[in-house]
Symmetry: C2
Subunit: 676 residues, 2 copies
């Protein structure tokens, strides 16, 4: 409930319009008083700033919009109402990194009204957690306008202390598949979110957004010094966003913690700022590992296209189903199963058919054979960016998937440097950015259509994750970063620091289908830049509820010792602890299996070896555990000795401290099982 | 035992003399293979490098000397012998941060002989630990020379990865009382050790020396890029060091860890590289807290000089003894107790008398009065830098101290910008640097003279600590950094980051008498830049076995709540754990009382508030503890609300995780007592 503005605050607000200095008009602190967000007016212009324990973190930063036909909605504003409220609730995830999520924040709703014509109204809503801040704009129904065309969002984030940033560029290429660069924050040009920042004072910040629905994605453009400004992904019509009132923007999020470990854990605020489950019961979705006809395609020993090398044949798929059944994998992904791959398909997916299989792929028989062995085929819907063409078929495709027990579908949007293509109102093809308003809506249409048929979506070359898995829990995973396929191409492969960079950047936004587990450590070019143990540790450190064992079955046969960990590790967790870590350097996580009392530990490092002391206090006190350790062997090194792996078993308790020795480019994976 | 060089190695060494590239001639790895130190010869020039898990940490760096009259001992060298050995022993400290110290290393002894006249010989000895490296030069008895005059030591430390450094300048002023500066390593000019370095890869290094005996202190001068070279403190004669053979240099030490927390713990290698106890039983020394007539002198409300304001009067001292007895402090320091303070004494201490008290200070009666209450006076020997003058009296002074139960003496070397003064062989006064060879020896003469009389030494404006407390455990503490007295002067006071900087720099070398506990938070100028809780936490985070409660008794009377922690906290520990920390940002330590099963936790931060998750896994599993918490109150801030303190009691176990919320410039102190 909004309550009328108090006399004092009204006075302040009016006063602010004539004063030289900004006046605070509203303020809200986090439940334990760690963070405080403040709204200020300066000659009618609206800004905010954020303090942590009394020190500035976000310096005064503008709020507002450039609105087509009506000018900027940022000046001549007065506070006309405000309300605060508190929430402390715990909700349960159907699947995830943790079963229970606490949502504990104080909220401020502040209404600003133009003091000049046309007297437009905008509400600014802040939710302040102890470890971060989310805010959004809400446009209520009002007399002054019934829709807005946003040419620019003026929201700023001015970081108060000198800082270093880890980021990838936005607006250059139409995907997220970059190596993260580390630069002074003052050298960022324009970045995708999440962008992670560490101040010289040791504060860790990450900027992102939550609940990107019917709106364009926010990039962050540096305008001066350490000041970042929202830059919305464009729309083909020339504006950025067009919406009828009432509506609200996505949440702009700032995670703020002291350590890198706490930063990862604070990303729950992104989930919390999304709406609850809107698709109903999703217990039909089973978090699970999968294998697939995939690595061979990137190796170019098999092909998507039909012909002699075609990978998606009935016989080959049966072989994968048998391997999956033997080793306990639930899913078998098959790419190239449908017509459309034989020509120049990327950025031109108009030949794709999503309801027919190629002639050498007996989908009916294979689906039945798989089900008879407790295995499910995983579907693949590569659109080649012909997105309306795909939408035309998707309902029928998901209905077929449902009938065949194909309850997970990997979608794809490979346009190379191009853009997605949609059919305009006039029937002509229009090009849009991956992360503009139109495609944000497309992704939700897909997910909602899939949900009706009990199909889960794992989107590749997708729009970035903004926590929508809370609202649409059948949107189970996505790619959206440089994955393991670069290890297949080998030109060059991902450097040793890449996966550690992902943990503290891309992974803050949600699950990623990185497709780890390449125990052969070799694609068709430069060798993969990890040790064997690190490949195992990726299953713990890079979370996805659909987790691939991406190597060829014959390669696993050569590494059965290491493969055991991949067979054991689950894809659904009761809880997660980040035990240590530094952005871009190393990280150690412990996760508890959701379906047993086992714990799993994963530690990975960059090109520098590490010696990490890890107290096992996450284990249940009083119990003895068998620790099955997969560690870098003596002398292991990603470059010179990547296969050196030592597997050993120890008995440990929660009072023990382990010394983890990670090789350069190495890692360590441990399964802890209570002893009877 | 040295064994004759193998034929292969001899070949390598000879070969190296004619080859263009450096050839490895000897190598030794740490017990777990983490670190490897390698000796190389390149055209007869000797260098070393250090790798960690296969990656370079110290790039090839020169070894050698510039020797007067005989030229450089660095080229035309050949390896003529080598031996390796392993040691794994655990020894017990009479007092310290931990009772038991493990000394676990592999050693390489390599003999190098000039292949040209005069055929000089030098041994290089490396001891390689998993968390650091120590090396020194040994000059055996030999025909080619019977003494050396060292004009320069050519030892280098070339840090392989781009790095940031925390350091204070050397060679500018004759003391260590600087604020630590953080700069790129490539902007260091000339630094005292320890100098702490963090690479962009997240490695933490600290460079220092161990066992500085009969030698000049090593400064580190940057010669180019990230290459540091030993720069020995000068001697008045123009050389740096003069020694008869055989002798060995101090150990040059490099601590190498992944985290700041591990860096602090790795400083045990400095202790380990010192010789065992040489003064016999020191059970007569009792680690303890003390108060004193001291803060009032710096406030200028009382004076060292005699007269109306004289602090060291019989009546005033009785008041302090009573306060000490009432609140359980063992020691009462009295400065200004002796003649010599009435003139211009600093840099000119020739009026000081160390065996007589001033007429208004009845030392005999006060000592007896103190002893009757279980209190010991603490002596004060300010030399005003008239060091030979002091040496003339010290035996008699220590004898008097012993007779009066004065078993701790604080020494002082206040020369302001001047140098210490000694009597030369001709009887004339000669000036020397604080940390040159002569004064290094002076300090040991004092400590050895004191030991004979069962007196412990706490040296102010001292030579830096190099772990000699292991060999001379009556050298219990020292200053050697900007202490709390700057808080009395207030012009300006130490900034909020100062104590955190000390933990990861100065404190790596050993105990510091920082004189914390100024609960009034005010001197005679700018306010002290900490909260009240942080003053308490300093007792846990800045270790000293003689730990002062430095404020005035009347100020403690106004803060009895907070004072309780100072009364409770011990000054001797069974073990220490660094629970988290970043250089210059924050640190949390837990220490276990050596005389009970209690644990104490201290956390301090810089100008940025912190929220730190701290698992209590250091507590004994299965026990319940009462946690007496002294934390920054809501809204506390070093600048605006430093006195806000919340004291509360909780019941906790080793399975709990505490959330520590530190104010800007704040801290937290906790006592954990097992519940019956």
């Amino acid at each position: 409930m909004m309550r009328p503005l108090s006399a004092l605050l009204l006075l302040l607000a009016l006063h602010a319009g004539t004063e030289a200095r900004a006046a605070t008009v509203a303020e809200v602190s986090s439940p334990s008083g760690v963070l405080t967000a403040t709204l200020d007016l300066h000659e009618g212009r609206l800004s905010y700033h954020v303090q942590r324990l009394g020190e500035p973190v976000i310096a005064p930063s503008a709020l507002g919009f450039q609105i087509r036909g009506a000018g900027k909605l940022e000046r001549s504003l007065a506070l006309t109402r405000q309300a605060t409220s508190s929430t402390d609730e715990t909700w349960e995830q159907p699947w995830g990194e943790s079963r229970h999520v606490r949502n504990h924040y104080n909220e401020l709703r502040a209404r600003f009204t133009e003091t000049i014509k046309p007297g437009r109204i905008v509400d600014v809503v802040f939710r302040v957690y102890d470890d971060g801040v989310g805010f959004r704009y809400e446009f209520p129904r009002q007399a002054a306008m019934d829709e807005v065309i946003i040419d620019d969002e003026l929201t700023e984030f001015a970081i108060a202390a000198p800082a270093t940033a880890w980021w990838i560029p936005a607006g250059e290429w139409n995907r997220y598949e970059y190596l993260y660069q580390r630069t002074p924050l003052a050298e960022v040009t324009q970045a995708h979110t999440p962008i992670t920042v560490r101040t010289d004072d040791g504060l860790h910040l990450a900027f992102h957004e939550a609940a990107l629905v019917d709106y364009s994605a926010m990039w962050l453009r540096r305008t001066e010094g350490q000041r970042l400004r929202a830059q919305l992904s464009p729309a083909s019509q020339g504006w950025k966003v067009r919406r009828a009132l009432p509506f609200h923007t996505p949440w702009r999020t700032v995670q703020i913690t002291d350590s890198a470990a706490a930063l990862y854990e604070s990303s729950k605020l992104i989930l919390n700022l999304n709406e609850p489950n809107a698709v109903g019961d999703v217990s039909w979705f089973q978090p699970a590992k999968y294998i697939g006809i995939w690595w061979s395609l990137h190796l170019e020993t098999e092909s998507w296209a039909t012909g002699k090398e075609h990978g998606a044949t009935t016989a080959n798929t049966r072989r994968y189903i048998d391997f999956a059944a033997k080793h306990g994998f639930r899913g078998v992904l098959v790419e190239g199963w449908n017509p459309g791959w034989d020509g120049q398909w990327f950025g031109n997916g108009y030949d794709f058919n999503f309801t027919q299989a190629t002639r050498d792929f007996d989908i009916e028989a294979l689906a039945a054979y798989a089900m008879s062995k407790g295995v499910h085929l995983i579907g693949h819907h590569e659109t080649g960016c012909a997105v309306s063409h795909y939408e035309d078929q998707m309902d029928a495709a998901f209905a077929m998937n449902e009938r065949l027990g194909i309850d997970v579908v990997k979608t794809g949007y490979v346009c190379d440097a191009g853009q997605i293509e949609r059919r305009g109102d006039d029937g002509k093809i229009v090009r849009e950015w991956h992360d503009g308003q139109w495609n944000a809506n497309h992704h939700l249409r897909v997910v909602q259509a899939a949900a009706k048929h009990h199909v889960a979506i794992n989107a590749h070359e997708p729009i970035k994750d903004t926590g929508l898995r809370r609202t649409y829990p059948n949107w189970v995973s996505r790619e959206g970063a440089r994955g393991m396929e670069y290890g297949a191409w080998g030109n060059p492969t991902n450097p040793p620091e890449h996966e550690v960079n992902l943990v503290f950047t891309r992974m803050l936004s949600g699950p990623m289908d990185y497709t780890p587990g390449i125990l052969s450590l070799q694609g068709r070019g430069q060798a993969i830049q990890t040790t064997l143990a690190k490949q195992l540790a990726l299953y713990v450190t890079l979370y996805s509820p659909v987790q691939m064992a991406a190597d060829l079955p014959e390669n696993y046969a050569r590494h059965m010792d290491a493969f055991q960990f991949i067979k054991d590790v689950p894809a659904d967790w009761a809880q997660t602890r980040v035990l240590n870590g530094e952005v871009g350097d190393y990280v150690t996580m412990a996760r508890q299996d959701r379906n047993s009392t086992d714990w799993y530990l994963g530690a990975i490092t960059d090109e520098q070896g590490r010696v990490l002391q890890v107290p096992l206090s996450f284990l249940e006190p009083g119990l003895s555990y068998e620790a099955q350790v997969y560690r870098d062997g003596d002398g292991a090194h990603w470059k010179s000795a990547p296969f050196k792996l030592t597997r050993e078993t120890r008995t440990v308790t929660s009072a023990d401290t382990l010394t983890l020795r990670l090789a350069a480019g190495g890692g360590q994976a441990i399964r802890f099982t209570p002893k009877r």
